[in-house]
């Protein structure tokens, strides 16, 4: 390490109080930003849960559909039309809707009902208990054991219930990789039973799940579906569309974005202000260095280095703290939707670099204006 930077480090570490304030300030800001963005990513991940759980390569839908929860039913001929598109290997219908479950104590509980294609059961969940084929049994449903399972009074195999005034029986307990965001229990059944039992509009098919013959066939499929007046998206595209919806068209996303921005501003002001105080406190020292013969560029390097050191320390502690809290939250709170990904670590890093750059810039502007003449005056 260059001696000048070592000097910078010693000046920084020498001032314990300011140094700690700086690191703690940035830690706090990173912590807040990480929590906000991880909540945000968690919510988005969960909101896209069905796309991930079903696992289809392509989704065909009405062009106005934004999320997998709210579909606009399509007429059956679309399924045949999609099946006859040359690049399509196979295509199956999917029903996603809501049912009203009446519990034994007489209370009602809404639930998400997913109807899988009768012939293939494409998108079926992993079973913890029961057999896949039991789904064909009379009135059979699979119940997902997630954070909302208890809302159905934690039914066992064979438990009966009423759904939309018809009988239902638990034929399997299922596990899905991403739980629901919306606090509703999830029931799986066959497409035909779902469309029979639930209140239906004229059309019943929520989505068509399509498997292209190859990735190269996807653009042609999209074009062909568009000709039908519908929209075909790959799973990633659908996820992105869903993300955008929650980010910009719901209060949830917008609020969290605003909170992230606020934590960024708080962090920026704590760090910027403290760093500026640090620079002011050390003005005389920088002036003495300048008088002795340090070049301006060396002073700039020192300031940058000091702000980088505190920023990276704060970043490290902030990420650790946020990760620990999220991990703890996930252990303790079943519905806790937060997720730390490389993406939000990266976002926090970018914000920290901005904070560090701005703080350094303020300090540098002051340093470059120092008149070393002050060292001669008492």
């Amino acid at each position: 390490m260059s001696g000048v930077l070592k000097l910078a480090l010693k000046l920084l570490l020498g001032d314990r109080g300011k140094f700690m304030t700086l690191v703690i300030g940035i830690t706090f800001a990173v912590f807040l930003m990480m929590l906000m963005t991880s909540m945000f990513f968690g919510i988005i991940e969960h909101s896209a849960g069905n796309i991930i759980n079903i696992g289809a390569r392509m989704w065909v839908m009405d062009p106005d559909v934004q999320t997998p929860q709210n579909s606009i039913p399509m007429p059956n001929y679309v399924l045949d039309a999609v099946r006859s598109i040359p690049g399509v290997d196979y295509a199956v219908p999917l029903y996603v809707g809501a049912g009203l479950v009446r519990l034994h104590d007489g209370t009602y509980q809404p639930a998400t009902v997913i109807g899988l294609d009768d012939a293939t059961l494409f998108g079926r969940p992993e079973l913890l208990d029961g057999h896949t084929l039991d789904i064909y049994g009379n009135n059979a449903f699979f119940v997902v054991r997630d954070a909302n399972y208890a809302k159905l009074d934690s039914p066992k195999m064979g438990t009966t219930f009423e759904i939309n005034d018809r009988r239902g029986v638990v034929a399997g307990i299922a596990h899905v990789s991403v739980g629901s965001l919306f606090g509703l229990p999830t029931l799986y059944t066959t497409y035909s039973r779902a469309t029979q039992d639930l209140p239906s509009t004229r059309y019943e098919m929520s989505f068509i799940l399509a498997q292209p013959k190859s990735a190269a066939a996807i653009p042609a499929i999209k074009r062909a579906v568009a000709q039908l007046g519908y929209l075909a998206l790959t799973d990633q595209e659908f996820t992105t569309r869903n993300d955008r919806f929650y980010e910009f068209q719901t209060a949830m996303g917008t609020n969290i974005l605003i909170m992230t921005l606020i934590s960024f501003i708080v962090g920026l002001s704590i760090a910027g202000e403290t760093f500026y105080m640090f620079v002011l406190d050390n003005l005389e020292r920088f002036a003495a260095l300048k008088a002795i013969g340090a070049r301006s560029s060396e002073l700039v390097a020192m300031i940058f280095y000091q702000s980088l050191v505190v920023s990276f320390l704060g970043f490290g502690f902030g990420v650790l703290l946020a990760s620990a809290l999220v991990a703890f939250g996930k252990l303790r709170i079943p519905n806790y939707a937060a997720m730390i990904t490389f993406q939000n670590i990266f976002m926090a890093l970018v914000m920290v670099l901005v904070i560090s750059g701005v703080s350094a810039y303020i300090g540098i502007r002051r340093i470059l204006r120092i008149d070393p003449f002050i060292v001669f005056r008492s």
Binding site: G3, L11, R285, G293, R295, S296, F376, S378
Partner: protein, 228 residues
């Protein structure tokens, strides 16, 4: 001749509130000379010292050090000039409280890109010369005034500058300590490649001067006005 000052003027502020701190100052300093600049408070001594050392730009006139007209240099070249040719002892020392005494002394070497350990080694040597070897690891604020002054001198001479400038080096010291320190500087630092400029009020140390110039109201005068 190591330093030549020609027709230097410096004022602060604008008319009518203008203060003329230096009015047409000219003089020169030879190698192996210890020049004193003395004069009453406000006569412009500190201003002159900072103009000579490339810290305060004069309004007119030239300062030539070892053949270089320093006020024609770029900002970086001027910084390099200060680093390589000058040694400073500021009136308030301006030691770095976050560094040890030893590290303080090594600062000019660090700025000269001497490797850290090597700089400390050299600093240790100079610290022995000023008889403070046992204080190497203390922060300077734990030292007495006279000791801090010696540290400041050690920092100024560690890079073996050709021109050493001291502003009021004895102002905060008792008479004996002040004399000892100035004698030390004269005996250890002065030689035929170097010169020393001392700004002072303190007539107890006049005996060490090679030559004394008197300033009054921004001018050099032949004889000081008798004090009433």
């Amino acid at each position: 001749m190591i330093l030549s000052v020609q027709g230097v003027t410096k004022w602060f502020g604008e008319a009518p509130a203008r203060t003329d701190a230096l009015r047409n100052i000219s003089f020169s300093v030879d190698h192996n000379e210890m020049l004193y600049i003395v004069g009453p408070s406000g006569s412009g001594k500190t201003t002159l010292l900072s103009v000579i050392s490339g810290i305060l730009r004069p309004n007119s006139g030239s300062v030539v050090v070892e053949g270089k007209d320093i006020w024609r240099l770029s900002a970086d070249a001027l910084a390099d000039f200060r680093l390589h040719t000058l040694g400073f002892v500021f009136q308030d020392y301006h030691l770095f409280p976050r560094l040890t005494t030893l590290e303080n002394i090594a600062v000019p070497l660090v700025l000269r890109r001497v490797p850290w350990e090597q700089g400390l080694e050299k600093a240790r040597h100079v610290l022995e010369v000023v008889e403070l070897a046992d204080k190497a690891q203390l922060p300077p604020q734990r030292l007495s005034g006279g000791e801090q002054q010696r540290v400041a001198i050690a920092r100024a001479i560690v890079s073996e500058p050709d021109l050493l400038v001291l502003d009021e080096p004895t102002a905060s010291l008792d008479g004996d300590t002040g004399r000892r320190i100035v004698a030390f500087v004269r005996n250890h630092v002065l030689n035929e490649r170097r010169a020393i400029i001392v700004v002072t009020h303190d007539d107890r140390i006049y005996e060490y001067a090679s030559r004394i110039i008197h300033m009054e109201d921004g001018r050099i005068v032949d004889e000081p006005r008798p004090t009433a």
